[in-house]
């Protein structure tokens, strides 16, 4: 049996016999480190560290190559990623979370020093524990970065959705007042939410108001054209309102054909036109909202 295998067995033995002692030493060191997250619940901390130590113990006892114990042994991997997720949510920094895992090294090594009399074996076991827990620390870091990435993407999507509200202005008339720079991704979302709203409301006219949009590039102009075309396919009409002079110039210069698009200079003019358009098709609308329709 090689020195390393003997060291691994020793660690398993010591983790088994002294897990309470290791956990207690570690918790004591942690309470100040994780304090930035508010009151640290010692019971929860204890449960987490117990799960990690149990994962280490079982992973080492299994016949798995040492390098794969942290990432390949599911109970240990999950314990470490759960730990990282929970503290990240509570606002603890990535460094502090990784540091907490690294601190488990000290707790283990101290117990190993008392438990293994043979100095060579003790050195081997110490190195082994360091390698294992360095891997676990890196894993918390990776988990932290991944979950941040996920949060950023989700917020990005939410921001896009918030910034493109589709409102009902009149019976069967919808509008999206766009404010700020339109990029391709946002134009895509505008298109989808507007068309979905047309379907859900059986709207006859959709107004896209770009008064608040400072500039439009070719890709965005293309998206606007596509929105108009898709609206027509669904059986509704689209009005583009609030085109600023600069944008009108640019559209003209880009040679984009807007001949089939109904345009109005302001949202108010567009609404007037839309009400007239809805009024032109009385029929069943008259039944539920006849008073509104009489206005036109």
């Amino acid at each position: 049996m090689s020195g390393r295998e003997r060291a691994r067995e020793e660690i398993v033995r010591i983790l088994g016999e002294h897990r309470d002692q290791i956990a207690a030493a570690w918790i004591e060191a942690q309470e100040s480190r994780l304090a930035s997250a508010g009151a640290v619940n010692a019971d929860e901390l204890r449960e987490e560290v117990d799960t990690i130590i149990a994962g280490l113990y079982e992973g080492l006892a299994a016949t798995m190559p040492l390098d794969r114990v942290v990432t390949g042994f599911a109970p240990l991997r999950n314990a470490v990623t759960d730990f990282s997720h929970r503290w990240a949510r509570l606002g603890v920094s990535a460094t502090a979370i990784a540091g907490a895992i690294f601190a488990l090294k000290d707790a283990c090594v101290r117990v190993l020093a008392d438990g293994i009399p043979d100095p060579e074996l003790r050195l081997e076991a110490t190195e082994l524990v360091h390698r294992l827990l360095d891997g676990a620390g890196l894993l918390t870091f990776q988990t932290y970065v991944d979950s941040r990435e996920e949060i950023i993407q989700r917020q990005n999507r939410q921001l896009l959705e918030i910034s493109t509200p589709v409102v009902r202005l009149w019976h069967r008339v919808l509008a999206v007042p766009l404010i700020g720079t339109l990029d391709s991704a946002r134009a895509q979302i505008v298109m989808e939410s507007l068309l979905q709203a047309i379907q859900d409301n059986e709207a006859a006219v959709a107004i896209i108001d770009i008064t608040g949009v400072p500039t439009v590039d070719t890709a965005v102009a293309q998206h606007l054209m596509q929105t108009v075309a898709a609206t027509r396919l669904m059986g509704a009409d689209c009005i583009l309102s609030g085109i600023r002079p600069q944008i009108a110039q640019m559209i003209a210069r880009l040679g984009i054909d807007l001949s089939e698009i109904i345009t109005r200079s302001s949202l108010a003019d567009a609404l007037t036109a839309a009400i007239r358009m809805v009024g032109d098709t009385p029929a069943q609308d008259a039944r539920d909202e006849s008073t509104l329709l009489n206005v036109s």
């Binding site: 991944d146 990435e149 996920e150 993407q153 999507r157 989808e192």
Partner: protein
């Protein structure tokens, strides 16, 4: 593609395209996979439409072949990769075939080029006499 690993439980599904009915079966399979991968309504529709174009090409021009559906999951995104292959006559001028309006069979000639626009990644491999393989990928969300 090496940086994108398959889902651990390796969900791969292969369908033969031999008869006209297989076109509908293929659509159903792609829809089911897209739902499972968490695609939105629009993404789902785009992917099924692209698959429909390519599967029809495979049946009509390639004399039949196979559709392989794979679940991709490079975190934090999910996606689907479809591979449509046949041992047919191949495409003589692939660049031309990707231009809208070019068609040697039914449809408006928007098949290949259209399918390309509906997905995030598009890869065409063909040689006269050696069949055609198209690999498309679309990410959910």
């Amino acid at each position: 593609m090496s940086d994108r690993k398959l889902v651990k439980n390796g969900q791969v599904c292969s369908l033969p395209i031999r008869a006209e009915d297989d076109l509908l079966t293929a659509r159903h399979a792609v829809r089911a996979a897209a739902l499972q991968a968490g695609f939105g309504l629009v993404g789902q529709t785009k992917l099924i439409t692209a698959a429909s174009e390519l599967v029809r090409n495979c049946y009509v021009h390639g004399g039949g072949g196979d559709l392989v559906i794979e679940h991709l999951s490079p975190p934090p995104r999910a996606g689907l990769r479809l591979t449509i292959s046949d041992d047919g006559p191949g495409i003589t001028d692939p660049a031309k075939a990707l231009v809208d309006g070019f068609s040697t069979g039914p449809g408006l000639g928007h098949g290949l080029g259209g399918a390309k626009r509906l997905v995030h990644e598009f890869h065409l491999e063909t040689e006269p006499g050696k069949g055609t393989t198209v690999v498309i990928t679309r990410w959910a969300g």
